[in-house]
Each structure stands twice: as structure tokens, then as C-alpha cells.
Symmetry: C2
Subunit: 296 residues, 2 copies
């Protein structure tokens, strides 16, 4: 029996230390998401359901850039991307540019299980996911005052706000691995922009050896096929933390920065980031831990 | 000075041997596309422009599933995907689900050069590409009688028609590599479906060592991060043809099949396929060659 492990993230970037109320809410949200995943793993449930459960909590939490609380496009709308990968079977489901789904990660699970396609975008993706049973929501309910403020700041400064994304990676007692990522993308993005999160091998990956979820400037993670670059190093025998360092160096060389979480079959958890990163982890041999700042 | 090389493909699958007129047109089209790329390489031009030029010819040619002649969705519309990667700089541009662009591959080049995003889909992608100068076309002009027949056959049999896609990979005299892929996707696909072609690391990849373009059942190429799985093997020192065999074996294990073309910095050209594949190649040391059937 493998030692179960779970890591989650809520986005990387420079996180302001001043807003104690927000930080306390975010910390509590990370704790809730971690618990919802560990509850499944402790009972011997599958990694795939654990990462979906953790990400669903973060999608509902307005502190994080996914689901409710998503970053807004240049036109002030929410367009969400998500991906779910089952490392044990190689199955995957992903959606991009969806606007009316409450839980994009659960819609990705429907695609993973029912197909016929792996990756779908826009209204066609929403129609198919809804036909498969995905829960819809009034897009206005996804917009938070915080996201509106960040768009206003972007419009004035043209400097993108901190890159948020949420994600989870897990190993279950059967040694099966899974990865999930969900995001509203970057504040002020052009309508139609797809980031790395829903791209299998860029922002999300899982196979028999490792599960990876990334956060950061999506364009650089896309150009470098970040998650697969990391996984192929682990497959070549490189230790998970060194593999993550090397892959993140590729992203930096491509003009980006960010972070990632990795879980391996032996329960190793790596959380690596250039700046601060909302993150939490737990394993059978390590108590639950929530952290935000780089030096936490 | 490196030895320039160019390979192109026009899709893999079981190609009917009966329609001599169509096969002659397809063969001529492959020849024209190959020449348009080699003309650039022979004059010392960049690989990036050579692959774009070759794919533009195939997009205009109604024999192939890209641009004019694209496969139709379940609703009878054209939704095109394309990607262009510059291995020398790591820059990339890709579009998915575009319906009104005459040359998706040239729109991908505009994204590659002007950004700000790497991957865009749907009407937002079209608006941005058009603002950057991409040529538009009446979508009705992209629909051919052949594509309508294939959709009719799909509607009756539910068996997807042969997986078409067009692509090109090149090495220029400076040793720079580039890859381009463009497609209408699979006949009868659900609206919003994105295949592997526009996904950097799945259907299209280029770096300092190799350039890759794939064709086949896109879902399996997405699940396996095919093109990056191939490139990471070449980076690990595995010969290009063996790397291609190994990566295509991953696709088969994932329930797919298809083919790919690969060019390396040393001018090695690999064309590998499970079934027949429209293909052509040329290098400074090898005369132009056009082939269609597996045993050609």
C-alpha cells in the first residue's frame, strides 16, 4: 500500500502582506480544500476524486482565481480553463474559455470519463459539458469585487496582476496519481486566450510516476511544455525536486516565472516557486501544512 | 552552414487507392507545397517562413483537411486549429476553433510575433488575429463537396473519416528548426473540440534539436503529449527515428494511431506512420520525394 499524499496551490506571485483579513480567509480556504481531499485519501479513495474535491473547494472560494473569484478579461468577463488528468489510466479531460460552469474541474472530469474529446473550448464545450450533467451558474455570480478592482488596476497600469491559478496533485493508497488545475487566467487577458492550465503537458500532467500542477505566466509554461518537461525528467531518473528546478528554469529562460506542485508515487511532495504561493500539503507521514509567503 | 531540409504531410489514415483523379491532385498539391518551402530554404531563408509557406499551400488546396477542404463539425461548420513554433527562439503561436480565417497558420505566425498570448480560441482569437492583419474569408468558401460527403458518411456510420491534418517541419541553412501544423480536425467532431494540432508539445513542437508535426487521432496525441515525448527522447540522445517509434507507441497504448514528420539539426528526416500518409520531403542531399501509400 502506497503512502497517500496531497498538495494544493492557490496561485503564485507577490502576495501583499498587509491585508490580514484576506490572508486569514485564504489560509482557511486552503485548509478546507486540503481537508476535502485528504478525507477521500484517508478512506482509501482515488487520487482523481481527491484532487477534484480539493479544486472544487478552491473554485467556490472567492479568494482564489478560479470559479468564483476568477480574473476578468479585458472586457470584464470570466473565461475559465481547467484540466484533470488520471495518471493511472492516462485519461484526461480539459475545458477552456467556459463562462457558465460552476465547477470547470468537474466538467473536466465528465469529459475525462465520457469523452469523446479530451479538450474543448467555448460555448461548444459548455453545451457538451451541460449535456453530460455539469452544473451551470449565472456568470455574474462568478465576478467578485476583488477581481473588478484588479481589472481596474490593470487598465490603469497595464501591469498584469499576480498570476493566480488553483491546483491539486495527489497519490492514493493504491499508488495512483492524479493532477487538477483550474483558473480564470490572467487579469486583462484578451477574450479567447487559453493559458497553460487546460493544456495536458503544459500546466497539468500525471502519469504512473508523478502528478504536476503549475501556476504562473501561462504563455511561458505553454512554450516550454512545462509539466511534461518536468515529468520526462522524473521518468529519466532525476529526483522530483531537481526535475522541478530544471523545468522551472526553462520557464524563466522563456521569460516567465511561477511555481508548481509535484507528488510522486513514493509520496514525495515538492512545492517550488519563484515568489510567494498559496499552498498546502499533507501526507500519511507529514501533518497538514498551509503556507503563503516564500519564506513560510 | 547546416544542410537545409523540409518534410511535409497532408494527413494519415487509410487512403482509398481507387480515385486516381483525386490522388493525382493530392500528389501535385504536395509537390507545390514542398516547392514553396524549399524555394525559401534554398535561398537561405528561415525555417519558420518555409514551414508557413508550405502549410499555406496545403490550406488553400481542397484536397487536404486544413483551410479550404477542412473536415466539418457535427453541425456542418468548419472550425480550424493551427500552431507554429520557432525552435531557434522558443516562440510559438497557436489558434483553435477559428472559422473565418483563410490561413490559420499565418494567423498563428502573427500571434507568435506579436502576442501577447501564445494560444487563443474562437471568436476572440479571430478578432485579435484580424486586428493584427490576418486575412479573413467567407466560411462558406472553406466547405468542399468532399468534406460534405465525409460528414454524410460519418452521420450514417458514426465511424470517423480518416484523420487529416497538414504540417511541415524544416531545418534552414542556419540550423534553425521550425514546425507548423494546421487542421480542420476530425469529421463530425463536436463544436468546440480542440485537437492536438494547436497544442505545443502535443501535435506540434520545435526546439534547438528537432521539429515535429503529428497527424492522427488527436485525443491520443493530447493525452500523451506526443511531440514533446518525442523531442525529450531526442534531447536524451535517442536517434530521431527510434524516438518517433517510441512516442508513436505511447499513442497506440493510449488508443490512437497516426503518424508524424521530424527534422533534426543534422538534416535527418523521419516520416513515420501506422497507415498511409500524404507526405513529401526534400533536403540538400536528397531529391524531392512525394509519397502517399504506406509501401510507397
Amino acid at each position: 500500500m502506497a503512502a497517500p499524499a496531497l498538495a494544493i496551490h492557490g496561485g503564485a506571485g507577490l502576495i501583499a502582506r498587509g491585508d490580514q483579513e484576506f490572508l486569514a480567509l485564504a489560509r482557511a480556504g486552503l485548509g478546507r480544500a486540503l481537508r476535502s481531499g485528504t478525507l477521500i485519501l484517508e478512506q482509501g479513495g482515488p487520487a482523481l476524486l481527491a484532487v477534484e474535491a480539493a479544486v472544487r473547494v478552491l473554485e467556490d472560494d472567492p479568494c482564489f482565481n478560479a470559479g468564483r473569484g476568477s480574473a476578468l478579461t479585458s472586457e470584464g468577463r470570466v473565461e475559465m480553463d481547467a484540466a484533470l488528468v488520471d495518471g493511472a489510466t492516462g485519461r484526461a479531460g480539459a475545458l477552456a474559455g467556459v463562462t457558465t460552469l460552476r465547477h470547470p474541474i468537474s466538467a473536466a472530469r465528465l469529459l475525462l470519463e465520457r469523452g469523446p474529446h479530451v479538450l474543448m473550448a467555448g460555448p461548444g464545450a459548455e453545451r457538451h459539458a451541460t449535456a453530460l450533467g455539469a452544473e451551470t451558474i449565472d456568470p455574474a455570480l462568478l465576478i467578485t469585487p476583488r477581481a473588478l478592482e484588479q481589472l481596474e488596476r490593470f487598465r490603469q497600469s497595464r501591469v498584469p496582476a499576480s498570476q493566480g491559478t488553483v491546483g491539486a496533485v495527489a497519490c492514493d493508497t493504491g499508488g495512483r496519481l492524479a493532477a487538477a488545475t483550474s483558473t480564470g487566467g490572467t487579469t486583462g487577458k484578451l477574450p479567447g486566450r487559453i493559458g497553460d492550465s487546460p493544456v495536458i503537458g503544459a500546466g497539468t500532467w500525471a502519469d504512473a510516476r508523478c502528478a504536476v500542477s503549475a501556476t504562473g505566466l501561462g504563455e511561458a509554461f505553454l512554450r516550454t511544455a512545462f509539466a511534461h518537461a518536468l515529468a520526462s525528467r522524473i521518468a529519466a531518473g532525476i529526483a522530483a525536486d531537481e526535475a522541478a528546478h530544471q523545468a522551472l528554469a526553462l520557464v524563466r529562460d522563456s521569460g516567465g516565472n511561477g511555481g508548481c506542485i509535484v507528488v510522486t508515487r513514493t509520496g514525495v511532495i515538492v512545492t517550488l516557486q519563484d515568489d510567494d504561493m498559496f499552498r498546502a500539503s499533507w501526507s500519511a507521514t507529514q501533518p497538514a501544512r498551509v503556507a503563503i509567503f516564500r519564506d513560510d
